[in-house]
Subunit: 250 residues, 2 copies
């Protein structure tokens, strides 16, 4: 019996999110089906976390247990030959039996891409949030820095009783190690690395940053919003299309 | 009455090609519908040429005649507000009455993108041809140079009696002004500028270049294939996903 760790990348626009569900093409379901064809086993791979419909992954991590005799080194090519081009396996490794893609994760990095010019190239429409309106980017950078460190992020978490119960989260406290905006050409990108992220947390941080950029909120309001521990204190959820899971650290 | 010249860009993966057809989402049909909503007129815009399903455009050009009172300067925003994000209008200009997107074109530029590394990022799958096998790129460059100048390109034209009749092409002679391969990172790109292009011509040139790169054909075979004036002398048609209409000159 082997516990395999798989790193994969996918175009979120082609999937109804990570989590398997009936009558929808999901990443988890697509991966389970590929594993089934290779090993003959029915397994449900466990991701480092769910990504919502439209959210992309540069390097998602998943684990699954197999009793098959297929060598670990053969899985990458076998999977990529079967999978649609919208998802690619980048690495397959043997992992210790106790290793779990979600429980063992120590940090994650996300990126959020905003396209700023008036006309968004059609080739980017699925891969960014097109926001061509004025933004005070310096203020957004200052607001991002206020998120660093350990905070209760309840104000930035989806009000999502189903998911809350299932995951049995005991706390909404997370630690943010890096949080910054970068401008390159017509793109404005938010990068955030943290111990973990609540459902919709990055998209809610971006939606709130936009309110700071527009002047609807002041930079210091971010501290007030964190203290409120109330979803309604923060801004709207930014669109899924701009969000990328970039890295999972163990 | 005004004759309007529109420059537009589209993600070919989202359309069943340029030409309007029943029960399919086409660029021409989508543009006609947007014009109809703005002007109330039923018009079929004329493109500089058809692009097939999956073929992209960085700058396609089309013309249409309108009797509406909508100012020319208002069309760009009005169209982009209506159109799906997969097609964007880049420019709208008044043109002389005799100007026609196809008949007035004097030169066109196409680009063809090939992705060479073993694993194609899922975000590029719709926008390149993934060809990870060995290629003698120097030989391909030499073959591309043999296409320069005036030639009968029958060997590289789709055998397509329907279209031939409709267009009433009297000759398959075209002049190629530029033809070259460039390597940048994991991408190998063919750029070609010519007086005009026959149906499938760029994709057939690329398919034949690949045979030169593989060593199935020698560089000098390109001259023999041109002289044969027979489609079966040349290589297979390269996939639509890698092809971009880059520029139309008048």
């Amino acid at each position: 019996m082997r516990n395999l760790k798989v790193t994969l990348s996918y175009d979120g626009a082609e999937f109804s999110g990570w989590q398997v569900q009936p009558n929808a093409i999901t990443v988890q379901g697509t991966m389970a089906s590929a594993i089934g064809r290779i090993t003959g086993e029915k397994v449900l791979p466990q991701g480092s976390g769910r990504t919502d419909a439209g959210v992309h992954a540069l390097a998602q991590v998943m684990t699954f247990v197999t009793e098959s005799s297929v060598p670990t080194g053969n899985f990458l090519k076998a999977m990529n030959d079967i999978l649609p081009a919208s998802v690619r396996v980048l690495e397959v490794m043997d992992a210790p039996a106790e290793f779990h893609a979600r429980h063992s994760a120590r940090a994650k990095t996300y990126r959020y891409r905003i396209y700023r010019d008036a006309i968004c190239p059609p080739f980017l429409a699925r891969y960014v949030w097109h926001y061509p309106y004025p933004l005070a980017e310096e203020e957004m950078a200052r607001a991002a820095a206020l998120l660093l460190g350990e905070h209760d992020f309840t104000s930035f978490a989806a009000v999502d009783p189903e998911r809350g119960r299932e995951h049995a989260e005991v706390t909404n406290v997370r630690t943010i190690f890096a949080s910054s905006w970068q401008r390159a050409g017509d793109e404005l990108t938010y990068s955030v690395r943290g111990s973990g992220f609540l459902h919709h947390m990055v998209r809610n941080l971006v939606g709130t940053s936009i309110l700071v950029g527009k002047g609807t909120l002041q930079v210091e309001d971010v501290t007030r919003i964190l203290a409120a521990r109330n979803r309604s204190a923060a801004g709207a959820t930014a669109p899924a299309s701009g969000l990328y899971l970039v890295d999972v650290e163990y």
